[in-house]
Symmetry: C2
Subunit: 121 residues, 2 copies
């Protein structure tokens, strides 16, 4: 199952905080903050979808992510690639390199990463 945009936003807070109580999550939002009940509903739905869980502490809960940001993100990218580039990551890579505004420095860094990846092949 998929997270919606709104759920993703909350998930991002949770990833950043690593684990968090309701109040921490509310704090994480910029003004205007959503109602507590709104966040509670989102958390419940996200728990149903298997993205978060929690530890009980008295009556309240410490929420934590069940899915790593990396994993989640990786699926996102892969689905983008599948959807728009007939599953060709190189086509995507080429597109990405040309179309996003990487600075000279960033491009050089990226080349370094690629070189080190090539070492392992």
């Amino acid at each position: 199952m998929q997270l919606t945009k709104t759920e993703e936003e909350l998930m991002n807070h949770l990833w950043r905080l690593d684990k968090a109580f309701m109040k921490d999550l509310l704090e994480a939002y910029p003004e205007p903050k959503p109602a507590t009940t709104t966040v509670a509903t989102l958390l419940k739905r996200m728990a149903d979808k298997g993205f978060v869980s929690y530890t009980r502490f008295g009556n309240s809960r410490e929420y934590f992510p069940l899915v790593k940001k990396k994993e989640y993100f990786s699926k996102q990218v892969n689905s983008l690639i599948k959807n728009f580039f007939n599953d060709s990551s190189s086509q995507f890579a080429s597109f990405f390199t040309k179309e996003t505004n990487l600075s000279k420095k960033e491009l050089q860094e990226l080349r370094a990463i690629i070189d080190s990846e090539l070492q392992n092949k």
Copy 2:
């Protein structure tokens, strides 16, 4: 505004075909094909969102995309980057290179692209 997954699928057909009548779009779907009315509804919604338009031909219409695949896709990637990498494309690039399964050949191609990009800087 955003396209939903289902709308994206249709949009993909349209991009591939460049322009198309209802019947072409229906053909483009794999079995089980959606009902004509379903596609019609989607097209209308997509037109409302400003993603497609059409030329009248008698009582039927030749639909065409108003947004280029490249543009659309570019926005998707940028929003992914913004959402998950605090707007840092280099962080994303690094992630991408490490986490997607690029073959040796693809990595080499990618390096070539980067080199040629670096020429222009």
